[in-house]
Amino acid sequence: MKSEVLYMLGIVSVGFLLNFGLRAVPFVIFGSRRHALPKGVEAFGTFVSPVIIAALIVYSYWGLAWRTPWPYLAGGLTIALQLVFRKPLVSIIAGTVVYMCVLNCGCTSQRIVQLDKSDPSIHYSDYGITMNGASINPVEVVKVLRDNDIPTDRVIHIRMEEGTRDLRGARTLMGILAKGGYTRPVLVSDRKSEAFNTGRPKKAPPPAAAQGPRKIRYKKASE
């Protein structure tokens, strides 16, 4: 406990010193009150600000869904509103609202994922969610199920890959399914496909087992 507090105090002070130090660099070099600011530095200061802001635009777009057209659409709307009305708050809120609406209406992907209707299961691992081999954003799972005309009273298996550590995402996924009307999701554990076993040759499985449905082990409530 005591060493942990000391460690965190160290973390806080190191972060403070470095962040503050980086920000103070120009003031330490050119901040003296007695001497006038060199002309070049002042010119650099006025020149650097639009460059920094342009870089910040690129940097913030990198955190958005930049592979889809939507951030650019919302960005174009923001710029257009700003050019016409010159009300920053209006432009920013309009752009953000449009972006949020478009993003959460499932417009981020136009692909159509075909599901196997006899087994509409969701594969869950630490690396994300896949349905029939295609990786899916959790918020779009319900849309994919609806697009494939899966009735809401179907049992939906969420197959957890063996060795999955973070179960909270799975819980969130169940919540999303329940909200979308799919009230019967079941968490099952899924052994890794035998295709991954490239070591020693395996005995051929008995034909009955090969043809039957894949074995599913239901998790107990305590697991």
Partner: protein, 208 residues
Amino acid sequence: MLNEMPILKAERHQLLRAAFVDSMPVLMGYTTMGFVAGVLLAAKGNLVLAPLWAFLTGALWVTGTMNFACVSLVAAREPLLSLALMTLAVNFRYAFYGFSMLARWKTVPFFRKCYLILMLTDENYALEAACGEENSAHHLYYCTILSRLNHSYWVIGLTVGAALVAVLGHIVDPETIRVRTNGMEFAMAALFLVIFTDQIRSFLSHEK
């Protein structure tokens, strides 16, 4: 030192309102981002007194990127040196922000200047650099108010997020919050776009 005219009360109100209106997009971004960062720190940081650390990092670092990046680092109890290296690599851009402010803040008293330097974050810098206030006393007043507002949004978001996890346990799930506020981060990009648009426009009108 302060040879400028004191600011009139009416002007004070005007500047205060301008700073508050300008800080609205930052309010949207900082509170949600800070909240998620606080929840992450408390839920995944493997710490005692998580709300205290969330408060201290928020108040003293004031950098969103590092607040997200430090979570895994702190959870694994990495040495301080790796935090230092990561901070240098991620936040090197901060070393350039001061250049635009050198001339304007030349006569600012020491401690006030230190606070303004501490608050040179991406969003705060963008707004301060874009502020067209000619009178330097007015500009200083505007910057101080804006910094205090944005600082408080960030600290409140972080601390509330961490405190909620500390009180409610795992009921607050970072993933759910991320899904609920999905897309809110566009407010920051939009803020930069608007400021850039205005800068280009004023540049073009000066050329004519």
